[in-house]
């Protein structure tokens, strides 16, 4: 069995364990989650299960798109959050919510994530080295943040403001099976696109010109990854709001275990992203804080240092990743 397959089995088991833990653990102690009383059933199956599944799907989508974007741009600092895809997805959804056509929020999230993905890859394709690409992403993210603030300012229904602000911080609180279906469907779509570009990502290990010279169709590789990452990020953001760093941390952790082949990283990175976010959500729920910590905040608290660590390691290698 290949290393990648063994890691995948381990991470799948970890995901299941985390999901089971998410059903057991929470602010209310439940001795038996299979108890037949109405309260237990509501808490476990109507509240905790959809919430945990949404977290897992969003994490998996972000981990997968992170791994794919890192392979495409040959840059270990790339992910949906850093490159501005998540910010733009949030902007799309915020516009939909704020202007009263909430039903289109998921579609808007995907379309805006796609626009950001096209923009950042077009701008970043020619850029050399990790720094400039990350700068482009930071610029796009700030721009999206500004536009979100503007949309909130101009929103005709200020009653929704508080919800929207919460939502841009990222949370899976109070999610239903509809959110699960939404994130799940877009993850399946995005994964299909990304996995069909896996060989192209492997070829890009040689750099763009050599990848073309060994026979890789870079135009289709680029299109598949950009569309796939946009679908994954749009779905994750529409269901769970903006959650950063999972997309960077998951592939980085998997690389340490499964090696650097960008195609073999994809599946384990999705599993690791899912497990990570479910664990982060468990932490958020069991922490004895007055108001529940937002999942996006927790992810940033864990992921920020990881990001800094990777950047420092790259710098010590002279940035020639």
């Amino acid at each position: 069995m290949s290393v990648s397959a063994r890691i995948s089995i381990m991470l799948a088991a970890l995901s299941l364990l985390a999901l089971a833990g998410a059903l057991y653990l929470g602010p209310v102690a439940l001795p038996d989650i299979f108890a037949r009383d109405a309260a237990t059933r509501t808490i476990v199956w109507d509240i905790r299960l959809p919430r945990a599944l949404t977290a897992w799907l969003a994490g998996a989508a972000l981990g997968l798109s992170g791994a794919a974007l890192q392979g495409l741009l040959r840059n270990p600092l790339a992910d949906s959050g850093v490159l501005g895809l998540s910010g733009f997805a949030a902007l799309g959804a915020v516009i939909a919510f704020a202007f009263g056509f909430a039903a289109f929020a998921p579609a808007m999230a995907v379309v805006f994530a796609l626009a950001a993905a096209v923009l950042v890859t077009a701008l970043g394709w020619a850029s050399r080295g990790p720094a400039s690409l990350v700068l482009i992403g930071v610029g796009l993210s700030s721009f999206a943040g500004g536009l979100i603030a503007l949309a909130l300012n101009l929103a005709p229904s200020p009653g929704a403001l508080a919800d929207l602000v919460n939502w841009t911080l990222g949370s899976v609180e109070g999610r239903s099976l509809e959110h699960v279906a939404l994130a799940g469907a877009l993850l399946v779509l995005g994964a299909g696109l990304i996995f069909s570009a896996a060989r192209g990502l492997q070829a890009l290990t040689l750099g763009e010109e050599s990848a073309a010279a060994i026979g890789a169709d870079l135009t289709s590789t680029r299109a598949l990854v950009v569309l796939g990452a946009a679908a994954c990020t749009g779905g994750a953001t529409a269901a769970a709001g903006v959650i950063g760093f999972v997309g960077i941390a998951a592939p980085h952790l998997v690389r340490a275990l499964a090696g650097h082949d960008p195609a073999r990283l994809l599946f384990p990175s999705a599993l690791a992203g899912g497990a990570l976010l479910v664990c982060a959500d468990i932490i958020v729920r069991v922490l004895p804080t007055d108001t529940e910590l937002k999942l996006g905040v927790a992810a940033a608290l864990i992921g920020g240092p990881v990001f800094a660590l990777i950047a420092a390691r790259l710098a010590s290698r002279g940035g020639d990743s």
Partner: protein, 255 residues
């Protein structure tokens, strides 16, 4: 022998600068051609234009077809390319890098059919990488990296090999090893065109040499006739001559 590469009146620009001007060249199976010339002569541009990696004017054919009319895969089955500074952005294992040469044959490094595995093993063997095949690309020396990338190009099993300075950074013994690989490819019916700054090696290995300067061909032909003192001085701006040493050559530049 069939013509594997033909360039007729080919010109190319990099930005506003013309870096290749009216170059014509033909290479058939069994032939070894060396590209010589000072830095900036257009050797790399010629190789990239031949593969269709950069836009060029004039007529280029790879085994009878225009590179632009071929898919990336079809092109890779006709010609393998070793760039001047080959990259391995992710530190994958040596054998995984070599296996990328089988891309056009439909293989992925982790899913090799028997024919792919045989090609990878043969290329690793030819480039003396057997001991290093399980090492990561960031754990081997510069010369070993160069050999790994050459093995990747060989594993592609394309009839035409385009090698951009394949011996740069290699010690003399390793450079001779590359020369043997080049000869072996030509002996099996393939063709090789390689650029180099090693005039002696070029003269010793190639059937024909092409001497370039500022994007133009200065002279072309068998080493003894193409690399005259006049041609060498025209190319390098220094008095120089080619001397026969046994079956090889030495290039002597005057101080």
């Amino acid at each position: 022998m069939s013509t594997l590469l033909s360039l007729r009146a080919v010109s190319a620009n990099l930005g506003a600068v013309q870096v290749l001007e009216d170059v014509s060249l033909e290479i058939s199976g069994g032939e070894i051609v060396a590209l010589l010339g000072p830095n900036g002569a257009g050797k790399t541009t010629l190789l990239r234009a031949a593969l269709g990696l950069i836009p060029a004017r004039g007529e280029i054919t790879l085994s009878g077809a225009r590179p632009g009319a071929l898919s990336a895969r079809e092109r890779a089955l006709r010609a393998a390319y070793l760039p001047q500074r080959p990259q391995s952005i992710w530190p994958i294992k040596v054998e995984a890098l070599v296996a990328l040469g089988r891309f056009a044959h439909g293989a992925a490094p982790d899913r090799l059919a028997a024919a792919d595995q045989a090609a990878v093993d043969a290329a690793i063997d030819a480039c003396a990488l057997t001991q290093l095949r399980h090492r990561r690309m960031d754990e081997i020396s510069g010369g070993e990296k160069a050999r790994a990338h050459l093995a990747r190009a060989l594993a592609q099993h394309a009839p035409l090999l385009l090698l951009d300075e394949p011996t740069a950074g290699l010690d003399p013994a390793q450079a001779l090893g590359v020369a043997d690989i080049v000869r072996g490819h030509a002996a099996s019916g393939g063709a090789v065109i390689f650029s180099t700054h090693d005039i002696a090696l070029a003269a010793s290995v190639a059937h024909r040499v092409v001497l370039m300067k500022l994007g133009r061909l200065i002279s072309e032909g068998p080493p003894e006739t193409a690399l005259t003192p006049i041609a060498l001085e025209a190319a390098y701006g220094r008095k120089a001559r080619l001397e026969g040493v046994g079956e090889s050559f030495a290039a002597v530049f005057e101080r």
